[in-house]
């Protein structure tokens, strides 16, 4: 993907695509004015790239790298980062430890390639010494990690970007639009002709797509698609439980949730997967619209 930005005029609306956040980012804008669509698309792209630069764990020059290389020193965070860390801290509490931004280290032990290669228990056990939000000292805006610990905002980064871009477009444009980053999306509707944005959701079994009409709402999907391990008939999803260091079993293949913001939809769908066999029961208690594929 070498292109920077692609603008397409469709039936009464425009589509802007750009590559970012390791997925295809798409913005649909309910206008036939190409200049306007381009300007809004560039606004969306620059905000997305800003967030990616600032929070990607693959870069060495951003705040995430600074925190992870602090080696026990205290890092004072800017407002936006402090807000994200505070949000993550609340999620840790809300999910009773299931959502933990310090759990990224587990990737060193687990590779989900569809094989049956489980890591030795001792390897996982050793990593757990450096995992756990409760070991972190967080006194906003000051964050202190024990040496060896790391944070990774990947679990909320894409959803955060969708919501931020939505907020930018909302300020700049009065009409309907839809921000879709690889299936995590948020829309404002209805369109000028009265219709709603239509999106496809994979139903109970793969391949069956149900079209739903989305007004002003957000949708996020979490799933293990091709990323899993299979051993002795047990399917290990790529969703790891930071409390044990092991993958969740009996999780649905994919969960799609509708909520008012992309972050909320994403948290609900991720937490549902972490509930394993109780995913549907958990979602039903939340009073949200959802689809679960097993």
């Amino acid at each position: 993907m070498t292109y920077q930005l692609q603008l397409t005029q469709l039936d009464g609306y425009c589509r802007v695509n750009f590559p970012a956040m390791a997925c295809l980012c798409e913005v649909l804008i309910d206008t036939s004015d190409l200049q306007q669509a381009l300007a809004l698309g560039e606004l969306a792209r620059s905000e997305t790239q800003r967030i990616e630069r600032k929070y990607s764990r693959y870069r060495k020059d951003n705040i995430v790298a600074e925190i992870n290389q602090a080696d026990g020193r205290t890092v004072t965070l800017d407002d936006e980062t402090a807000g994200l860390i505070e949000f993550a801290a609340e999620l840790y509490d809300l999910s009773e430890g299931r959502f933990d931004i310090t759990s990224g280290l587990l990737r060193q032990a687990w590779t989900f390639d569809g094989s049956d290669r489980l890591p030795p228990a001792a390897t996982v056990e050793a990593l757990l010494n450096n995992i756990g939000w409760s070991r972190v000292r967080w006194q906003p805006p000051q964050l202190t990690l024990q040496p060896g610990m790391e944070i990774d905002l990947g679990g909320i980064g894409k959803e955060y970007a969708v919501d931020r871009v939505y907020a930018e477009l909302e300020q700049a444009f009065n009409g309907a639009f839809l921000v879709n980053f690889g299936g995590d999306l948020r829309a404002r509707g209805p369109r000028a002709d009265g219709s709603q944005w239509q999106i496809g959701v994979e139903k109970v079994s793969a391949g069956q797509v149900e079209l739903i009409e989305l007004g002003t709402a957000a949708v996020a999907t979490s799933g293990d698609s091709q990323r899993f391990l299979l051993r002795d008939g047990v399917r290990y999803s790529h969703i790891l439980d930071p409390r044990s260091g092991w993958p969740v079993t009996d999780a649905p293949r994919a969960v799609t949730v509708v909520a008012s913001s992309c972050l909320q939809a994403g948290i609900f769908s991720t937490l549902a997967l972490m509930m394993g066999s109780e995913a549907e029961e958990f979602l039903a208690a939340q009073d949200v619209q959802f689809w679960s594929m097993r």
Binding site: L77, D79, A82, G83, L84, E86, F87, A89, E90, L91, L94, S95, E96, R98, Q139, P140, P141, Y160, D163, R164, A167, E168, E170, Q171, S260, S261, L263, Q264, I267, F268, L271, M275, E278, E281, F282, A285, Q286, D287, V288
Partner: protein, 456 residues
């Protein structure tokens, strides 16, 4: 509760709003309307009040907001006139009722005459607390507030209030400036309130410490000015604990008296026959200093517990140059039973010391000189108003709130209040009119408030 059954939606929404900030908090295109009806009732058929309250607030695109509040009070019943209970019957001539009767006669208003005709004078049975039965007032309060963010983390607040009742009018303006520090974890605010009151008692402003019934007045009205200065610090201790400190200074000058409150004058514990009117006894109108300076300190903690429960603990200390010092401890627990139902038990303890001029009655000789028909107070100030006495009080209450859909709420609150006399007994001669009489009427009251909040 296990996570699988626990509703996390509300906290997740709050956390998301905090993260996405003002950009997500879209300007609400509705008014938030809170309405409530308070029914207040004192024991022994004393004051009864009905108070509807209407509060409207709205947020705008630029994060500014306005608030409009209207309160109407209808008070009826009997209020202590300040005289002591005695072992003989006492007859009082109510200045306020007399003035109303006079006005009604002038206007030929039969309805008013019917209402007050038999209340011009009232007789209190031996041993009973003297209560003026003509207590009746309607109060209307209108207040406006406007808040808007300025640049550099400052927020400005401007407001005003107007309050009016039959014999009292109050007008005030206020302004405050707040600033956020430490990534909004600390907010410091400084506020100023200026109040101007005008008092025009029924029957004129009685001349302080002169004989009740003699009709000496100092004109028909008087004024009072109050300046309040407040410094506040709000600190987010962590994401579950909010702490607030307030320091308040208040300077009040002008007419501070209650124009309807009198004091019994006794000679060795016996009532003295009024030298001007053999049908009644001797009472003097009260008098208080013209200035009052108060300082208060307030400390409050709000701590989130579990999923949605909140404990709220507050302590307030107030001291003034009348020697009234008070302590208030307030505890509220917000118990979120389910998404749509909560209970709020509430307890408050209050204790105050007496003003240095508080006295349940005056002694002839040491405090009042009575020579023939000449009556001269030897004290500069004196009041038997129980609000200036030493007492402690307990308030206990329970509120039930019920969410009706996502944007409206119905609530019902019930509270009981009980005062306890903490004054030392003023010496009374054995066998006299005041011997064995209560020197402080402990107040018992209860109130019910029905509230309904919705979007409009």
């Amino acid at each position: 509760m296990q996570l699988k059954n626990k509703q996390i939606g509300k906290r997740l929404t709050l956390a998301t709003s905090a993260l996405l900030g003002s950009l997500q908090a879209q300007a609400a295109d509705y008014w938030e309307v809170s309405s409530a009806l308070l029914m207040y009732s004192e024991a022994d058929d004393r004051v009864q009040a009905v108070e509807p309250v209407l509060n409207l607030s709205r947020q705008f695109d630029d994060e500014s907001s306005i608030n409009v509040r209207v309160i109407y009070d209808a008070l009826t019943g009997s209020s202590p006139n300040g005289a002591m209970p005695a072992s003989v019957a006492q007859t009082f001539t109510s200045a306020s009722a007399a003035a109303r009767i006079e006005q009604a006669e002038e206007d030929d208003d039969e309805e008013e005459l019917e209402k007050y005709g038999d209340r011009g004078s009232y007789t209190i049975a031996p041993g009973d607390l003297p209560l003026d039965p003509s207590f009746e007032d309607n109060r209307t309060v209108l207040s406006l507030g406007w808040t808007r963010p300025l640049s550099n983390g400052y927020t400005m607040n401007l407001g005003g209030a107007y309050s009016s009742e039959g014999d009292f009018t109050s007008f005030s303006v206020n302004g405050a400036l707040a600033r956020d520090f430490n990534n909004k974890a600390t907010t410091v605010s400084l506020g100023l309130n200026l109040e101007a009151d005008s008092i025009n008692p029924n029957g004129g402003v009685p001349t302080a410490l002169t004989m009740y019934g003699a009709g000496n007045t100092d004109g028909s009205d008087d004024t009072k000015q109050v300046v309040d200065l407040m410094l506040g610090v709000t600190q987010v201790m962590n994401r579950r604990w909010l702490m607030q400190f307030n320091l308040g200074l208040s300077q009040s000058s002008g007419y501070q008296n209650d124009p309807y409150k009198i004091l019994t004058v006794v000679n060795d514990g016996n009532l003295i026959v009024n030298p001007d009117d053999p049908e009644s006894y001797l009472y003097l109108f009260e008098n208080r200093p013209e200035d009052r300076q108060k300082m208060s300190f307030f400390w409050q903690n709000k701590v989130a517990i579990g999923a949605d429960d909140v404990i709220d603990v507050g302590y307030r200390y107030m001291t003034d140059d009348w020697s009234v010092n008070s302590h208030t401890l307030d505890l509220t627990y917000h118990w979120q039973i389910s998404e749509g139902l909560y209970l709020e038990p509430h307890y408050r303890y209050y204790r105050q010391s007496a003003a240095d001029f508080y006295t349940p009655f005056l002694n002839a000789g040491s405090e009042v000189e009575v020579v023939g028909s000449s009556v001269t107070a030897l004290v500069d100030e004196a009041s038997s108003d129980p609000r200036l006495g030493a007492f402690s009080a307990d308030t206990m209450g329970l509120k039930v709130g019920l969410a009706l859909g996502s944007s409206s709420e119905l609530s019902l609150r019930y509270e009981v209040y009980q005062q306890h006399d903490d004054n030392s007994l003023k010496a009374v001669a054995a066998g006299s009119h005041l011997d064995g009489m209560s020197q402080f009427a402990e107040l018992s009251a209860s109130w019910v408030q029905l509230g309904y909040t919705f979007r409009w």
